[in-house]
Symmetry: C2
Subunit: 322 residues, 2 copies
């Protein structure tokens, strides 16, 4: 409510570090930051994609001395995340980034009973750890150097409301929300702001990867989500960060989910959120009952699917290891 009196955050001349910055939402946010005059460092695993991404960033450069850099690191380990941060800080005299946008990750939906130890762990790496390590390393540096900073996490609708097919993915997305909620409070001890964004369906290269393993029933239930492009979502995300929003959900459904899962997270506008809360209170149980009934109606087809996959005849003893 006090927003009209406070100045919005300006990325101009700030050093912004964007993980997963070579494609999809990461690249869209990186481009937007460059166009607003920020110094931008992107990190991702794929060197060839980084090269293409750099061309796109150079195309929107706003002044000659703007520092635009790319680096190839794997961020699913603490060591990789630390090395990436070392590299990213170097052209800035070792100074910590002013803002970190953690947009790396991927989604691989599946029926739970088709998950293995490996797929479960990989999905936790690609949701939770890929952001948690960067947050841990960056916040230690910021506190040690007593520097101001912004840390932006990225969850998803599925971090608010789970759905059949996301048993490996949802936990990591909700874990990020818990981490962000805790750090928002804990970082009141320092000068570090925390944000977390909750996008729905986004038409990016990651969406095609996601749909490759997505159960049919999940695809059917998601048909009604209109979705956004990466560029549309990047604008909403950056607007939220600039406004100082903590949970960022720049669309109608996201706001209803947010209000229904608010817990003790601060929200922007008590009156508007009362409306979202009420809509969720009445509407979400009806939606859930409809989805539940769709799932129940899928039992026979699902049993045929499991039979065709040889699930009933496979070896129980090695099930989680294969």
């Amino acid at each position: 409510m006090l927003r009209i009196f406070s100045k919005s955050w300006d990325p101009k001349n700030k050093h912004c570090y964007v993980t997963g910055g070579s494609s999809g939402l990461g690249l869209a946010v990186a481009k937007l930051l460059v166009s607003k005059g920020a110094h931008v460092s992107i990190v991702s695993r794929d060197a060839r994609r980084l090269e293409n991404a750099m061309k796109e960033l150079e195309a929107v450069r706003t002044f000659p001395h703007q520092i635009l850099k790319c680096y190839s690191y794997d961020l699913v380990t603490a060591a990789g995340s630390r090395e990436a941060l070392d590299a990213v800080c170097e052209p800035h005299q070792g100074k910590n980034p002013d803002a970190i946008f953690m947009l790396a990750g991927s989604c691989h939906p599946r029926f739970f009973i088709e998950e293995t130890e490996e797929t479960m762990r990989t999905q936790m790496d690609q949701t939770y750890w890929v952001q948690a390590w960067t947050a841990l390393e960056a916040s230690k540096r910021m506190v040690r150097d007593k520097s101001k900073g912004k840390i932006v996490f990225h969850s998803a609708y599925i971090g608010y409301i789970t759905l059949i097919g996301y048993a490996a993915y949802g936990p990591g997305r909700m874990a990020l929300r818990a981490l962000a909620d805790t750090l928002r409070q804990e970082f009141l001890l320092y000068d570090i702001d925390v944000h977390i964004a909750f996008p729905g369906t986004m038409y990016t290269p990651g969406y095609d990867i996601e749909n490759a393993t997505k159960p049919k029933i999940t695809l059917k239930i998601e048909e009604t989500d209109p979705g956004m492009t990466g560029d549309q979502y990047a604008k909403g995300l950056l607007r939220g960060v600039q406004n100082g929003d903590f949970h960022i959900s720049p669309d109608l459904l996201g706001n209803i989910f947010r209000a229904s899962m608010r817990g003790v997270a601060p929200s922007g506008n008590f009156m508007v959120d009362s409306l979202w809360n009420f809509i969720g209170w009445v509407g979400l149980p009806i939606w859930r009952m409809s989805v539940d009934s769709t799932v129940k109606g899928h039992r026979k087809e699902h049993e045929e699917y499991l039979t065709s996959k040889g699930f009933y005849s496979s070896d129980t003893k090695s099930s989680t290891l294969s």
Copy 2:
């Protein structure tokens, strides 16, 4: 609302598998199940504690042929969880347990910037994986054998509302909620019921372990939580399971948190929950502001604490690995 017409679940003569069953909440639930005539298998790591626990279970045995067994396994890997299930099923002609109560785990609060790669991973093992592997292995068996079953997860208040000091613990607890929510829906495809419990402070041996690393500021904020004994909580948990409740929070605060974090989770009573939702809507922002202000007031003391710990002079480069 239809509860009065449905029969409550009776553990008598059912095989109940209780992880973490050698002490605290796990032992309390195991004893309660034995006293209600269930065959009970408990698993935990510590062989000596298992021996003492068996004496307590034998003391409440209700009939001579009641099968009471204990096993020592480490459940933080998929392999350990699979081997434990193999062992537990053996005295029951290889049949899957009728109900699985996943009550193993531990809590080690700390300031986030004092966490390391190892402490972060251990805490995720001790919250999320220690339950996720058993759920994965058990549900594969239940689906393959087309057997009915109950899987009971165990989260905490911190799975609803996070708090300074729980940056490593909260994510695992909230991840469990996401897993339970997903599986409740996905298991409509099979005959498996899912439940998840959210206890607050519980006066068990785990509570002393937890308080050993808990930051002072967290202890101070938690002073107002009245807490329960393991036995009190076990009764509430089992009542919830018997009633068919999905999210189980058998106390006032838990219900307010639950309604404020309901998302699309089904709840027992729409009218009563409207009241919890309203109380949470008005009360939780006030509580949060009060906690936030306590945290801000702790800045100076915290800086002195970090100085005394040598945080500002330690080596940044190896920070997450030490």
